[in-house]
Symmetry: C2
Subunit: 146 residues, 2 copies
Amino acid sequence: MPTTHTDALSQRLADSGLRATPQRELVYNVLLGKRDHPTADEVYARVRAELPTISLATVYNCLETLVQCSLVRAVNFERGPTRYCPNLHPHAHFHDENTGETYDVDLPPTILADIKAILPSGYDAKSVEVIFRGQAHRTAEVAAGE
Amino acid sequence: MPTTHTDALSQRLADSGLRATPQRELVYNVLLGKRDHPTADEVYARVRAELPTISLATVYNCLETLVQCSLVRAVNFERGPTRYCPNLHPHAHFHDENTGETYDVDLPPTILADIKAILPSGYDAKSVEVIFRGQAHRTAEVAAGE
DNA sequence: GTGAGATTTAGAACTATTCCAAATAGAACT
DNA sequence: AGTTCTATTTGGAATAGTTCTAAATCTCAC
């Protein structure tokens, strides 16, 4: 895990007047380390491997903090636990109904404008979320490119 | 509430080998009567005005049944209770971050194909969900047209 | 080093939902 | 009309996920 990420974290936190704690760094690194949209519980399990004394409440706190700083995106489709995804470029989510897994799909810049264009006047969208549901027949090739 | 809706309900239920009960009809009519994406609790409150002996568990059962029959759509953005929306033509949801209200936005037929076109090969989407977040400055005119 | 404020922690509390087992209601058949 | 069989409803208990709370701990600025 390169220091650059951790530095970006400190920076963002400082911008909001918050401190870079070991817990926050670890939670963030765990999210960066395996981008499979884990739940808070899953993050908790992964973080405890390195810092066994951390509490679940702290994991929730850290995740919330990261979301506040726009370093992480909270994702909610279907009732069930919130999932977390470290925020890079704009992307949609593809939810495989067979496996339950969620994949990121890059959004070409033009499509976002196209989608926003359907809004009638009076609606001012700050963000757009796109969720696909269906089946993914992913090749090994595709998975390797992630 | 015209009989046509109730008939459509009986039909759909029968197709799935289910019965058209007073509770199911009432829950469905409540959803049709006020399309403000109510939670199960809100549906419960509205239904009880007419059938005070209904139980919350039944409301959950009925909503689940209606979702199974594709007469109603369950909507989940942000952690919090599931909301229900009687399913007409394809539409996006606009979530006003100030008021917390959710509005339906019609999706022009072409945009769905455009959005699906961004999927790499190997992804087969059965449905697409679009959620906007921002502020709605709705005029009385717009609201009247619903 | 001390004080002030931020952060973490464990556990209690809360909310939304599902589960369960018993009671009820219908439809089909006699 | 009565019986049977199954679907449905019901209230309450149980569960899952998250938030709250108050005390302990850390860290920075002085």
